[in-house]
Amino acid sequence: MSFNPNIPQITDPLLQSGKQIRANFQAIAQAWAVNHIPLTSDPSNQGMHTVLSMRPLTVDPTTSASQVALYCKAVSSIPQLFYRPNSNQDPIQMTYESINNDGSDRQYSFVAGPFVIYSGYIPNATNGMNVILTPNTNLIYVNLTLTSPKANTKNLVMQVATPINITANSFTISFDGLNTPSTQFGTYYTAVGI
């Protein structure tokens, strides 16, 4: 059943128009029930939404000075949520193609941009250990914090972990001031990739 915007015709008999009008009302009710509280439900809730199911646009929508737009656009064939500020300013991608919040030691989320936010814990990090983060991005920030560093008994310089050789989605852990190079440390990492 599809909506017919061209009825009733002036010359149609009422018997014919009545059927067409009813078909249109039914089509409207069906269409409205998608993503919205049905028109036939509690009048105080009519017009509100149940869900936003968004199909990708091929071009960014235009926005006026008093308008913003939330929409869906494909990035590498994967639909993503976008926000466009008023007056056709640069669109901002709000979502990333995946997320890992499974409670393991290595997780990631994202913020608008999108930037991928990595956070994790390496229980037995060693000097020179190469760390590869997934998903694959270009890291623009890495921070390492030791849970329990030790001091070098000779020069009294405390252990510091430094991320070096940051390339694409990997980096190397460097422990400065080591007493014994084989020592292992619990190490937190926080990283941002784009």
Binding site: V51, T145, M158
Partner: protein
């Protein structure tokens, strides 16, 4: 304001009725449509009709299905929180919680925000802490108390402090504090233990913790 009516998709009921009979039902449906469309949407009699003004989402009990070329945004109730916005990837892909928690008043110098997926981020700064014989640990409270797991802790000292230790020696100023989460209370991690210890043969020597900036990510 006129009382809102319920839409009837089956009018006119009798096709043989005269227009005068059906008119009231037709009019009622048009008025209901107009009224419904005016909520969350620009009114039909406005020049900007078709646009939305706001999106009010009713709570859903289950994840919404998505086609291969479609994303879904909806709300569901989250235990210990309220209704939150969820996002589901195409093709009935992974569902994740897009918003998180309510906004609480944070402590001075401590702020927090959320990341999609049920993560909380705490960030801010703390002042120098000098341990005493009685108080050797510095506990950084995390408010709101909501975390069940610490994902990562980043500490960045904002001052250089040499630390005097036993034997007249000095701990190098570049020494960074260490951090680890305190044991959970009732399942929630409420604070981080921060210390700066010199671990030598013969015992640990707690020394002054420099002022730091911090950034902590945890899972609720």
């Amino acid at each position: 304001m006129a009382k809102e009516k319920t839409y009837d998709p089956n009018v006119p009921e009798k096709l043989s009725d005269a227009l005068a009979v059906s008119q009231l039902a037709l009019l009622a449906n048009f008025q209901t449509m107009f009224s419904a469309f005016s909520r969350n949407h620009v009114a039909l009699d406005s020049t900007d009709f078709g646009n939305h003004t706001i999106i009010e989402l009713f709570e859903q009990l289950n994840a919404i299905e998505t086609n291969v070329n479609e994303i879904s945004i909806y709300t569901k109730f989250v235990k210990d929180q309220t209704e939150q916005v969820f996002f589901r990837y195409p093709g009935n892909g992974t569902e994740f919680q897009f918003t998180n928690y309510q906004i609480y008043t944070a402590k001075k110098n401590q702020f927090f925000t959320t990341l999609p997926g049920g993560f909380l981020c705490y960030f801010g700064s703390f002042k120098r802490f000098t341990p005493s014989a009685k108080v050797t640990k510095f506990n950084l409270d995390l408010l709101p108390v909501a975390l069940k797991k610490i994902c990562s802790i980043a500490l960045c000292p904002t001052e250089l402090i040499d630390a005097n230790i036993a034997g007249g020696k000095t701990l190098n100023a570049s020494t960074n504090p260490s951090a680890y989460p305190n044991d959970p209370t009732n399942g929630f991690i409420s604070s981080i233990n921060i210390s700066r210890k010199l671990k030598l043969v013969g015992g640990n020597s707690p020394v002054t913790v420099p002022a730091c900036n911090y950034f902590i990510i945890g899972k609720v």
